[in-house]
């Protein structure tokens, strides 16, 4: 999974390769990352260098208190980026909206019915992809017109899942 992490206006592209490796600027680095006693205190050993910091999830960003200095960071992963691209763009306030799969996956649930009125932000489809559950939300309020998929079905990227009017 690749992440775009921003700290003090500096952008870092960090790929989490596996449990013990990350890649930054094409350099593979060994990481050993452990929560201390299940607390929001983390011990990081990065290519042998040992760091320890408080890491909190704030409302909008991550806060890292490291060696007496507080950092505020935003962490965005590819999936979120795509989700944002899928549902987060400007959507016409009326007219038909086609909800498309932002990535290939498996439909886990469609918690709405055809003809149902939905609010902006309400979950329309749950899509499992990259081992994760992704909630696809209504970009605006409206009426569910046609549901084209059902739970258990596999979908391709950009396949239309339902329409909202």
């Amino acid at each position: 999974m690749k992440y775009i992490t921003t700290c003090d206006n500096q952008e870092f592209e960090i790929e989490v390769v596996d449990e013990h490796h990350i890649r930054m600027v094409d350099k593979l680095q060994q990481v050993d990352f452990e929560s201390v006693s299940g607390q929001p205190v983390y011990s990081l050993i990065l290519d042998g260098k040992s760091y320890e910091a408080y890491v909190y999830q704030g409302e909008e960003n991550w806060l890292v208190l490291l060696r007496g200095r507080l950092y505020s960071l935003s962490v965005v992963d590819e999936r979120e980026k795509r989700l944002r691209a899928a549902g987060g763009g400007r959507v016409a306030e009326s007219g038909e909206f086609l909800m498309k799969a932002p990535m290939p996956g498996l439909v886990v649930a469609v918690p709405v019915l055809e003809g149902e009125m939905v609010e902006k932000g309400q979950v329309l489809v749950i899509l499992e992809s990259m081992k994760m559950q992704n909630e696809l939300k209504a970009p605006r309020s409206g009426k569910v017109e046609r549901v084209r998929v059902k739970p258990g079905e596999s979908v391709e990227q950009k396949q239309t899942l339902l329409t909202l009017h």
């Binding site: 992440y3 989490v16 990352f33 607390q39 890292v64 490291l66 200095r69 960071l73 992963d77 499992e128």
Partner: protein, 502 residues
């Protein structure tokens, strides 16, 4: 000999006093408010009694209830700690009336030093230098003050005679602004102390706040245990204290120590007390006030002298002689205390409350922690935000600073925000290291933000930490609904669904 002592306080100082008693084989009685049932002093005392609801005026300030508990539990003496009833002459007098030894000075000494104007007048008579200002005690009118102000010279300070903690204090730059600020100072003093009386003092610029610990027994012996440098303050609240002061030399120490002893003698002092001085750049020193009680920062003196001040207080209160003569007091090394407050230094130092879920104390050579909290304890908004004092000793000041640095970095508290990052930044400040500071340093010449900027940045490491934490979090939520686990019975599925969405 005391068999049992009531500790009329809470938090770290109550714990400190209970420990001293225990080490002397004296039984202790603790008192607690409803918010403090699980406080450390309640756990450590031999007996503990509930006072009342959380607010201080319904609990720790209820002298009547405390005295009843003292009677019921059959104590010989009462130690007031600091704050709450410690400097209330009426409480000291009531203790005596009801047959309990008050471990502190006589009511008359508390009274004499409690009124700032009276205290000035008293020590002036004893030949102690005070900051130039209004010499008269009592009710000075606005006209009196306005006429005397130019003689003192500007800038000057308006101070409340009943005052303390900066309440009713105003800085005056010129005669023009004085009437307005005088009125506002009186209003504030009136509402804080029920006494609108104020007096004037010359503003000593670039001053250091240096205080002397004195101890006096009932045989007329008065000694001092050297000075503490307390100039690191924010809004008149001390944040860090050290002993000795970098500013001090043997000659000045002797001079100021003698004056401190004289000031204590002027009010026929008994037990432990502190004489606060302002010291200007030319090493002129002025009596500021006397704290007629044990001080928060007493441990730095204990670390450099080896004297157990609380044990000595109890000794004196029992009517024994001081264990030391002035000649026997030796100073070894350097001690620094950082007050660890539950407040957010990155957000205007607003108090932070909550349950401490985890804590890792710095330990090892030369470290002392005086704390009233522990993992599982709830920090409430009712009392002062100081949750611990971190004190280090080193052979030299440089060594003490290095040791404090490593101790601050080791100290972990989860559940409340603390001002540890502030202290870390301060320890890295060149001015602090060089001893170049006065009482206005933190507020005027030390910006946490700027200091942060100039500190070594580890933004790449921070980015990796945040990324890995975010990754772990999303992996974990994904784990809940791994595909191969989906064939669970329906209610299990519902359970998971609910867990995910609450």
């Amino acid at each position: 000999m005391f068999k049992k002592v009531l500790v009329a306080n809470r938090g770290e100082i109550a714990v400190r006093i209970i420990r001293a008693c225990r080490e002397l084989g004296i039984q202790t009685v603790g008192i607690f408010s409803e918010a403090d049932r699980n406080a450390l002093h309640v756990r450590y005392a031999d007996e503990s009694y509930l006072l009342g609801p959380a607010p201080s005026r319904e609990s720790y300030l209820r002298a009547d209830k405390i005295l009843d508990i003292a009677a019921r539990s059959g104590v010989d003496a009462i130690h007031p700690g600091y704050g709450f009833l410690a400097e209330r002459e009426d409480f000291s007098a009531q203790c005596a009336d009801r047959g309990f030894v008050f471990i502190g000075p006589k009511p008359t000494s508390i009274a004499a030093m409690g009124d700032k104007a009276e205290a000035r007048a008293t020590v002036i008579k004893a030949g102690v230098p005070v900051v130039p200002g209004t010499e008269d005690v009592g009710n000075l009118t606005d006209d009196d003050l306005l006429s005397v102000a130019p003689k003192i010279g500007f800038p000057l300070l308006i101070k409340a005679t009943a005052g303390g903690g900066g309440k009713g204090m105003r800085e005056i730059k010129s005669l023009d602004e004085m009437p307005t600020l005088l009125a506002s100072a009186r209003r504030e003093a009136e509402s804080a102390f029920g006494d609108g009386n104020v007096y004037l003092e010359k503003l000593v610029e670039g001053a250091r706040h240096i205080e002397f610990q004195v101890m006096a027994d009932s045989f007329g012996n008065v000694i001092h245990l050297g000075e503490r440098e307390c100039s690191i303050q924010r809004r008149h609240q001390k944040l860090l204290e050290e002993s000795p002061s970098v500013f001090m030399d043997e000659e000045l120490r002797k001079k100021m120590g003698d004056v401190a002893v004289k000031a204590a003698q002027a009010v026929d002092y008994l037990n432990a007390g502190t004489i606060e001085f302002l010291v200007d750049k030319e090493r002129n020193f002025y009596f500021l006030e006397m704290n007629t009680r044990l001080q928060v920062e007493h441990p730095v003196t204990e670390m450099v002298t080896g004297v157990d001040i609380v044990a000595e207080q109890i000794r004196i209160a029992r009517g024994r002689q001081l264990s030391y003569t002035q000649d026997q007091i030796e100073f070894k090394g350097h001690a620094i205390e950082c007050r660890i407050n539950a407040e957010d230094p990155f957000n205007g130092f607003v108090p932070s409350t909550g349950r401490i879920t985890h804590s890792l104390l710095p330990t090892g050579p030369g470290i002392r922690v005086d704390s009233g909290v522990y993992p599982g304890f709830e920090v409430t908004p009712y009392y002062d935000p100081m949750i611990a004092k971190l004190i280090v000793w080193g052979e030299t000041r440089a060594q003490a600073i290095l040791r404090m640095r490593r101790a601050l970095e080791e100290y972990r508290i989860v559940g409340v925000r603390t001002n540890i990052p502030f202290h870390q930044t301060l320890m890295d400040s060149h001015r602090f290291m060089g001893g170049q500071f006065d009482t206005r340093f933190v507020e005027e010449r030390f910006s946490l933000d700027d200091a942060m900027e100039s500190r070594e940045s580890h933004s790449e490491i921070a980015a990796i930490l945040a990324t890995l934490a975010a990754h772990q979090l999303s992996e974990r939520s994904a784990h809940i609904v791994r595909r191969n686990e989906r064939d669970a019975s329906n209610w299990k599925w519902v359970g998971r669904w609910e867990r995910m969405h609450r």
